[in-house]
């Protein structure tokens, strides 16, 4: 090996391995938390601490989770590192993906389909995440049918309205967005589960074929679970009536103030009783 090999190889392998790592941490870990939080609109129905029943409880549980996340310390830092990681993983991913020539036409093995799908779902995922973050986080409401702006104080109702296309009911464009969400999350969950499996080969954790199979079962299990959470959440939000949800969220907002007011023993809390939505 000549001296000039040094930087060349460290950068090459380092970038490849960072690409693998960034997909797991922070992106993959975030995906797990994000999807389970979303699914709280459904599993929240079992949350007896919330008033009402069924989806009403779900809507409030979801709102409770969202508020909790919004109060997290260093949230912007977490967000920034996520955006950086996603940007890095996406750009390198595309660079790597264009170097290969999928050949499922000639070699129709399931593993070869996995390889090809990993690349396809990556491309879809980039578009989906961009749309998702731009509309629901950066407030690019011109991309949302009906122009709904997502708000973390009215998390379920604004999301439900964005998915339906309006507060009043489903519109054609709204259905298109909902289908887009279904495809987007499905692709991303597959991409993560499969990436988790291949990363174990890349890093050399699973060496023998048996170990790869065993780890494959774990990843498939996790993938099925996450897929369930993702679809469950989507169904939950599609069944959520934005107007009803809005009323529940209003209730929580004023309720939160009451609690706050009690805690402050009426000192400041009572200064703003009837808060406008």
């Amino acid at each position: 090996m000549t001296a000039t090999d040094g930087p060349r190889q460290s950068h090459h392998l380092l970038l490849r391995r960072l690409h693998s790592l960034s997909g797991l941490v922070p992106i993959g870990v975030f995906l797990i938390f994000h999807l389970t939080t979303n699914a709280s609109v459904v599993w929240g129905a079992a949350n007896t601490r919330m008033p009402g029943e069924g989806l009403e409880r779900g809507v409030q549980t979801f709102q409770h989770e969202v508020s909790w996340i919004n109060d997290m310390p260093g949230l912007l830092l977490i967000e920034l590192s996520l955006w950086l990681a996603i940007g890095f993983h996406s750009i390198l991913g595309v660079v790597y993906a264009v170097g290969g020539k999928p050949n499922v036409g000639a070699y129709k093995y399931p593993d070869n389909w996995r390889y090809t799908l990993q690349r396809l779902t990556g491309y879809v995922g980039i578009f989906f995440i961009f749309y998702h973050v731009a509309t629901l986080r950066w407030g690019w409401s011109f991309l949302v049918p009906g122009g709904t702006v997502w708000s973390h104080e009215y998390a379920a109702s604004t999301l439900a309205a964005a998915l339906r296309g309006s507060y009043e009911g489903f519109t054609g464009a709204g259905i298109a967005v909902s289908i887009g969400y279904f495809l987007g999350v499905t692709c991303l969950v597959f991409h993560f589960a499969n990436g988790l499996w291949t990363s174990a080969i890349t890093w050399g954790l699973t060496v023998s074929e048996k170990a790869q199979k065993r780890w494959g079962m774990v990843c498939a299990g996790l993938g099925v679970g996450l897929m369930g959470a993702a679809w469950m959440a989507l169904i939950g939000f599609l069944l959520t009536d934005p107007v009803d949800a809005r009323a529940l969220e209003e209730g929580m907002l004023s309720g939160a103030h009451e609690v706050q007011a009690e805690q402050d023993e009426g000192a400041i809390g009572s200064a703003e009783p009837g808060r406008e939505p």
Partner: protein
């Protein structure tokens, strides 16, 4: 009858085909021809009477005796490469019904069992064609030199007896040692693409076979001496991280070389090596 391409036909199907092969039949041999490097290709079909147990090479030899196509045009004998004729040298590898395998061990009975069935022969696509079915596998061998796939014993004095090898390690390494440098694993790999420019062979994907040979020699008591050199090369562009885990290689390897296990093992060795280099600088 529609013929299943090799990749669609399982070993069971091929065995079944052998038992129902019709004696005294004539099959159509469809060959992709090319007059030389860079020249345009063309198809030519030949009628070949099949003898029991006939292989593809015998089929090509029959054509060479009387190279007349089904259209009645006299042409040249089909050019191909071969060596051992017993599936140990890898020279005769070509695409048979769309999938890479050895023409010396490929029986017509398994692919074209009935009267009038077609068997299609094409050169491999990941290596430059020299002529007809004969390709230049030089890059495959260059990959082996990149990872120093040998045991360093050259010297100016006798080195004496080598270290002992345990039977377990021997057993592990045996499967890898069966590689015959045929190129099937590269032909099937979506990450290994044809690279006509020889200058870029040092940085283009090295291929599953070379990764596996690096593991073979890294596991050898004397071959270990070059382990770091091999791993350093496999950390370079075109090294092990170029693999996309499609795992086609292991499925098409005619020798059953455990390629995906080798890729993962080298992945592990490279992980450890890169941490060592990072923290110790060596």
């Amino acid at each position: 009858m529609a013929i299943a391409y090799a990749h669609e036909s399982t070993a069971d199907q091929r065995r079944a085909n052998r038992t129902r092969a019709v004696e005294g039949r004539t099959v159509l041999c469809r060959v992709r021809r090319c007059d030389g490097p860079g020249k345009a290709g063309r198809w030519e079909s030949f009628k070949v009477p099949v003898e029991p147990g006939m292989n593809v090479i015998a089929c090509l030899k029959h054509i060479a005796q009387n190279p007349v196509t089904v259209d009645g045009n006299t042409t040249t004998p089909v050019v191909y490469d071969a060596g051992c004729l017993e599936e140990v040298c890898g020279a005769c590898t070509m695409l048979i019904n769309g999938m890479a395998r050895q023409s010396c061990s490929c029986l017509i009975d398994e692919y074209a069992p009935l009267e009038g069935d077609t068997i299609t022969l094409e050169p491999m696509t990941k290596f430059p064609v020299i002529r007809d079915l004969w390709v230049d596998r030089a890059r495959l061998f260059q990959s082996l030199t990149r990872v120093k796939a040998w045991v360093p014993i050259d010297g100016t004095y006798a080195l004496g007896a080598g270290p002992k090898e345990s039977p377990e390690v021997q057993q592990d390494r045996y499967d890898m040692s069966e590689c015959m440098s045929c190129g099937c694993c590269l032909e099937a790999c979506p990450q290994f693409t044809i690279e006509p420019d020889e200058a870029s062979w040092d940085t283009s994907f090295i291929g599953a076979h070379a990764i596996s040979q690096a593991r073979l020699f890294n596991g050898h008591a004397t071959g270990k001496e070059l382990k770091n050199d091999r791993l350093d090369e496999l950390m370079n562009p075109g090294g092990v991280s170029e693999c996309g885990n499609a795992q086609n290689c292991v499925k098409v390897c005619p020798k059953g070389v455990p390629l995906t296990e080798s890729i993962a093992t080298i992945g592990r060795q490279v992980t450890i090596r890169s941490f060592t280099r990072f923290f110790s600088g060596k």
